[in-house]
């Protein structure tokens, strides 16, 4: 077993124990724990281990490790801290709450993801605390038409059972299921029609998660239908089927597409890294002289590339490492190097002293590439 695996295993065990501890604690020594839900609980514990293990393995990849470290460093850098915190309060709701970056990719895509994401979030927010015994409801001693909610065993607010609020709360999973089902339908439609998606999609990576979400939602809705309108017809059977779908999904969580839920927050670290990079010293291309990213970014990449075993070092001391060359120059050099090999007597080369001009993308169309709007926001601070 490698060092990385042992470390990841340790983190996994630690987190699993913490969750287990919280279950015991939150349910007041399992007083409010529903024994029927023990399968779910163990699935969650397994998922916790798996996710932590994979997350830890992921964090140990050289580029991730560096970004993780740098992300925190730049976030906490005293000079930028106030600004960073302000930004944090803007970015969390816009990126994670509203998925605005997905809205840019397309309205339908955005609607799909919002439905799926918030459907799942609502479902998780309702079911997990219930399963763990962190939340339970009791009728008021003096009024059987009222419920009081208990969180971690502490009493909170009370509300009438037959109110709109009560209806909404007790059918929360129904709403969540409807949202998820709608999202799955939209996603499926795209995957069935879109020629681009058709070329790239894979069953395990792209269809399985949709099928799982659909199965959970539909079996959940059938449970509701069974006890609401069909006097509990086939309730036990449905409950088992539902449990199987949920448990399978939980067990699969660390391995498949859903892992992005845990990975995605890294996006925040990246945004602070870029911000701080823009405010600090730029890296100037050592061929054309144009600034193309932050000095920090180039130096970090050199470190990462060395760790990965790449040898982009240059003999020319004024350049040192190929990473100091900007992407437009890299593209030009490819053609120029080939042109050199084809050069005949009659085609002169232009030998001039000094830096060469930055290559310019031929098509200056809206948001089209190097030195246009897109690059200005990417690597031209």
């Amino acid at each position: 077993m490698s060092k990385e695996t042992i470390r990841a295993g340790a983190w996994g065990t630690l987190f699993t124990l913490i969750v287990a501890g919280l279950i015991v604690l939150g349910s007041r020594n399992l007083a409010h724990f529903d024994a029927a839900l023990v399968g779910y609980t163990f699935a969650v514990l397994f998922a916790t281990f798996g996710i932590t293990y994979r997350y830890s393995m992921w964090l140990q990849r050289p580029p991730t490790a560096l970004y993780w470290k740098r992300g925190w460093q730049v976030f906490l850098r005293p000079r930028h801290l106030v600004q960073n915190i302000k930004e944090w309060f803007i970015r969390v709701p816009s990126d994670f709450g509203l998925n605005l970056f997905i809205l840019q990719r397309g309205k339908l895509r955005w609607a799909t993801h919002m439905l799926l994401m918030w459907g799942c979030m609502i479902a998780i927010a309702i079911t997990f605390p219930l399963v763990f015994g962190w939340i339970h409801f009791e009728t008021l001693p003096n009024n059987f038409d009222w419920y009081r909610a208990y969180l971690f065993g502490f009493p909170t607010f009370a509300f009438p059972i037959h109110s709109i609020f009560g209806f909404l709360v007790f059918h929360g999973l129904v709403w969540a299921s409807i949202m998820v089902t709608a999202g799955v339908m939209l996603a499926m439609r795209r995957r069935m029609r879109d020629h681009g998606a058709a070329a790239l999609q894979q069953f395990g990576e792209d269809f399985l998660p949709l099928i799982l979400l659909f199965a959970i939602s539909v079996t959940g809705l059938m449970l509701t239908a069974s006890y609401t309108w069909m006097k509990g017809y086939a309730y036990d059977f449905l409950a088992i089927i539902h449990a199987i779908t949920v448990i399978f999904t939980l067990l699969w969580l660390p391995f498949g597409k859903f892992f992005h839920i845990f990975q995605r927050p890294a996006q925040l670290g990246v945004s602070f890294y870029k911000d701080v990079g823009q405010r600090e010293e730029p890296a100037n291309c050592r061929r054309c002289g144009a600034p193309f990213t932050s000095r920090m970014h180039v130096e970090d990449l050199i470190k990462v590339e060395r760790q990965l075993g790449y040898r982009y070092e240059m003999k020319d001391n004024s350049i040192e490492h190929y990473q100091w060359i900007c992407p437009p120059c890299r593209r030009s050099m490819l053609a120029l190097a080939q042109g050199q090999l084809w050069r005949t007597e009659s085609s002169a080369s232009l030998d001039m002293e000094g830096l060469v001009p930055t290559p310019v993308l031929g098509n200056p169309g809206p948001n089209q590439g190097p030195l246009g709007e897109e690059d200005r926001t990417n690597f031209h601070p």
């Binding site: 990849r61 560096l66 681009g196 890294a266 982009y312 993308l361 690597f379």
Partner: protein, 214 residues
């Protein structure tokens, strides 16, 4: 799967900068509306030379290895894909690390997008958009037999040198048969400014002034 016999061959020396590739690229259905190919004027003030660059699809892609999110994947047939949408965190590592300068960051999408050799077309046995339309055939897609027949004075290589690093790619580049070079030393062109015909220093120097003084 891209049929094994179909290969991509680049010959930038043929490029005329017409941008048919750039325009056609945005018609590809894996990234419709967005062009992934690059076409740069290397030094327009001194030369009309242009550099078309598609993804060369490295055997071990630097972009994928420096990706902190593990978002860049290569298909079994060797095509390096656009970053996986759920994973890409828009960090720009790939954009900066790719030795050929290929990936594009769509900042507003928080997503790296790149040339995927028109996977929707090539995986069905068609040619990529750019190589189909390219009027100079600086971008060529076909079999090795075809290219050998069409380019008798050229030989294909897929080895590129950057300083001490050699990168092997799926896409080939055409080199002169007579030159006997086995790889393209990209960093050898570090101070190269553009090549080809020049007006000024030899044939016409001083001509304008002469006319003025007459």
């Amino acid at each position: 799967m891209v049929p094994e016999q179909n290969e991509f061959f680049m010959d930038p020396n043929r490029c005329i900068g017409c941008q048919a590739c750039v325009q056609a690229c945005s018609e590809c259905e894996t990234h419709k509306g967005y062009s992934m190919i690059h076409l740069d004027y290397v030094d327009r003030a001194h030369s009309i030379q242009t550099a078309p660059v598609v993804c060369l699809h490295c055997d071990s892609p630097t972009c994928a290895e420096v990706c902190p999110a593990d978002a860049i994947k290569k298909t079994a047939d060797g095509v390096v894909q656009t970053a996986l949408k759920p994973r890409c965190i828009g960090c720009n590592n790939c954009v900066l690390a790719c030795p050929f300068g290929v990936p594009k960051m769509k900042t507003e999408f928080k997503l790296m997008m790149k040339c995927d050799m028109c996977y929707d077309r090539t995986s069905e046995g068609l040619k990529p958009m750019c190589a189909t339309v390219c009027p100079s055939q600086a971008l060529f897609f076909g079999t090795r037999e075809e290219i050998e027949l069409l380019r008798p004075r050229s030989v294909a290589t897929n080895q590129f040198r950057f300083g001490e690093q050699t990168i092997t790619t799926k896409v080939n580049m055409m080199l002169p048969k007579s030159g006997k070079a086995e790889y393209v030393d990209v960093t050898a062109a570090m101070s190269e400014r553009g090549s080809g015909k020049t007006i000024s220093l030899n044939i016409l120097d001083g001509m304008y002034n002469e006319e003025q003084s007459q």
